[in-house]
C-alpha cells in the first residue's frame, strides 16, 4: 500500500509515540517516571525517528525493524531538550512549562538522565548481525551533540564569531542527530557502505537547513504557532545564523544600530521588532532563506545512491516540509 507522506508521517509518529510511552509506562518511582512521560508527551514532529525509519526503508529494510532504534533516538532528542532547557533557562517548550519549571532542576536533570539511559535500553533490542556498529555510531552522535551544546554555551560569551564557527556548532548540536538517524537507519536496513554514507550526508544537510530555519523562526514566526516567545534567542544572547551573519556585515551603521538593540537589558518586544527590521536591511533574512534552500538542494543530491522507491520519495518530500515549517 502506497501512503502519501502525510499519512506515512502520521502512522510512524503514532507508533513512535506509543512505543516510547510503553517503555516508561510502568516505571517507579513516579518522581522519576512522571517527568519522563511529561517530557515525551508534549507532541513534537518526531522528525528524527521518522527519518531513521525512512532511511531504513529506503535501503530495503522495513520500518518495523528500526522502531526500537527510532524510539531510542527520540528519547535521546527529548533528553537533550530537557537538559538544554535547564542550561538555557527556558521556561516554555511546545507551549508548556519546561520540566525544571514545572518541577525543579534536580528533577529535570534526573529525568533527562533517565531518558538517555532508557534510550540505550531500547537500543539494546536492535537485532542485526553487528549491533556494536549501531551502538558506536549512536554514541558518537550523542557525544557530538554534547560537544555542540558546549560550543553553543561558550559562544554566548564571544562576539567575534564567523559563519564557519556557527556552522561547526550547529552541525554538531543539531545536524548530528539527523545525520546519525539516517546513518543508523541505513545500517539497520542493511544498506551498502556508500548508501550509509549517502544517508548520513543527507541527514547532516537536512539538519543544517532545519537549524537555520529554527533560527529564522525565532524572529519571523507567529508566537502562538511557535509555542514559545518570539525573540527568545536574542534575549538569551544566542549566536544564531541571523546574529552571526548580520554582525559580520560591512555596513558599520547598521551593525552599530543592531548592537545597540542587542545590548539593551532587558530586550523588549519592541526591540525584537526593531532587530527584525534591521535584519531585513542587512540582507540577513534573505541570506538565511538562501542558505536553507542551498542545503536542501544538496541534501536531495546526496540521495543519488539510493534506489527509487516510496521511502526515497518520502525523503525528498520531507525536504520541502522542513522548508515550509512554521514551528
Amino acid at each position: 500500500m502506497i501512503h502519501s507522506l502525510a499519512q506515512k508521517l502520521d502512522i510512524l509518529k503514532e507508533q513512535i509515540s506509543h512505543s516510547m510511552l510503553e517503555w516508561m509506562a510502568q516505571g517507579e518511582p513516579a518522581a522519576l517516571y512522571e517527568p519522563m512521560r511529561y517530557a515525551v508527551s508534549a507532541g513534537g514532529k518526531r522528525l528524527r525517528p521518522i527519518l531513521l525509519q525512512l532511511a531504513c526503508e529506503s535501503v530495503g529494510g522495513h520500518t518495523a525493524q528500526a522502531l526500537d532504534a527510532a524510539v531510542a533516538l527520540e528519547m535521546v532528542h527529548n533528553f537533550t531538550l530537557v537538559h538544554d532547557d535547564i542550561m538555557d533557562h527556558d521556561d516554555l517548550r511546545r507551549g508548556r512549562q519546561t520540566l525544571h519549571k514545572r518541577w525543579d532542576e534536580s528533577t529535570a536533570i534526573l529525568a533527562g538522565d533517565g531518558l538517555l539511559v532508557l534510550a540505550y535500553l531500547a537500543l539494546s533490542r536492535v537485532k542485526i548481525p553487528n549491533p556494536q556498529e549501531v551502538w558506536r555510531r549512536f554514541s558518537l552522535g550523542i557525544l557530538k551533540v554534547c560537544e555542540g551544546q558546549a560550543l553553543d554555551k561558550a559562544y554566548e560569551q564571544r562576539d567575534d564569531l564567523s559563519l564557519d564557527d556557527y556552522l561547526e556548532m550547529i552541525d554538531k548540536k543539531t545536524a548530528e542527530l539527523f545525520a546519525m538517524a539516517s546513518e543508523v537507519g541505513a545500517i539497520i536496513g542493511g544498506g551498502r557502505g556508500d548508501q550509509v554514507t549517502a544517508m548520513r550526508r543527507y541527514g547532516a544537510t537536512l539538519g543544517r537547513a532545519f537549524q537555520i530555519q529554527d533560527d529564522l523562526l525565532d524572529i519571523v514566526a507567529d508566537e502562538g504557532e511557535l509555542g514559545k516567545t518570539i525573540g527568545s534567542d536574542l534575549k538569551e544572547g544566542k549566536k544564531t545564523f541571523l546574529m552571526v551573519h548580520a554582525l559580520n556585515r560591512p555596513d558599520e551603521e547598521l551593525v552599530r544600530r543592531l548592537r545597540e538593540r542587542l545590548n539593551r537589558n532587558p530586550i523588549t518586544a519592541e526591540d525584537v521588532l526593531a532587530v527584525r527590521e534591521l535584519l531585513v536591511q542587512t540582507g540577513t533574512l534573505k541570506a538565511a532563506r538562501d542558505e536553507i534552500e542551498r542545503a536542501l538542494a544538496r541534501a536531495r543530491e546526496t540521495l543519488q545512491p539510493i534506489p527509487d522507491n516510496a521511502a526515497k520519495n518520502h525523503l525528498i518530500q520531507l525536504l520541502q516540509l522542513v522548508a515550509a515549517r512554521r514551528s
Copy 2:
C-alpha cells in the same frame, strides 16, 4: 604470577585510570572535555570497575577482556557523582571543589552527560558472542541508579521512613552499580548462569554494606581523610541508615532530643557532635556496624558457585577492605 590484593588493586586501578583518561584526552571543545577529565582524575578507589574485572577473572576470564566495560562503569559512576553533587548542592568531593562549584551548573550537567555517553562508547567495544545482554544489563543497572536517586530526593521530604524504605533506596542508588559490575564482569568472563546470578548477589550485598559504611563515615570519620565535611548528610536532611534507624527507636526522649538537633538551622559542628553522641545512646552506630558485618558475611556465602582461584580470594579479601575503609 600471584599478586597480593593490594598489588592487584594498584595494577587494575592504574590501568583503569589510564584508559579512562585516554578516552577523553583528545576531545574538543575543552569546555566539555576539561571538566570531564577533572571529574575522573580526582582519584577514588575505582572499586566498581575493579569488581567488574575480578568477577570476570573469577569465572575463568581475563581482566583485560573486561577493561572496556570496567572503564565504562567507572565513567558511569563518575557521571552519577557529578549530577548528584549538583542535586545535593555539595561543594566538596574527594577534597576538591565539585564540578558545578569549579565551573557552573550548565557545565556540570553537560560534563555528566558526556561521561555517560562516553561510557556507552567504551562499552560498544566489548567483544563477546552476545553483547546485547551486557548492553541490556548495563542500562537496566544505570536506570535503577536513577530510580534510587529519585527516591533519595523524595525521601528528603519524608519523616516516616522505615529501614525497609531505606534499604530499597540504597539497593538501587548504590548497591545496584556493584551488583551490575559483578554481573556484567561474570557475563564477559563467560560465567555460567548460576555464577552470573551469584556474582550479581555478591555485588548487591557488598554494595549495601558499602553504603551503610558510607553513612557511618559521614559521622564518625576523620574530616581530613574523608575529603569532605563531617555531618554533611545531616545538614542535607539525608535519610541515612543512621537517621532512619535512630528515629524509629522506641525511646521517645532520645528521639525528641535527636529531632531537636536535626531541626536546627543551620546545623553546627557542635550539633553534629551531639547527634553522634545520641546515636551511640540509641544503639544506632552499633546497629550499623552489625548490619555491615552481616551483609559482608552474606556476600562471602554467595561466592559458593565460584571455583577457588586467585580472583575469588581477592573478592573475599575485598569484603574486609570495605569493612575497614576510612574514606
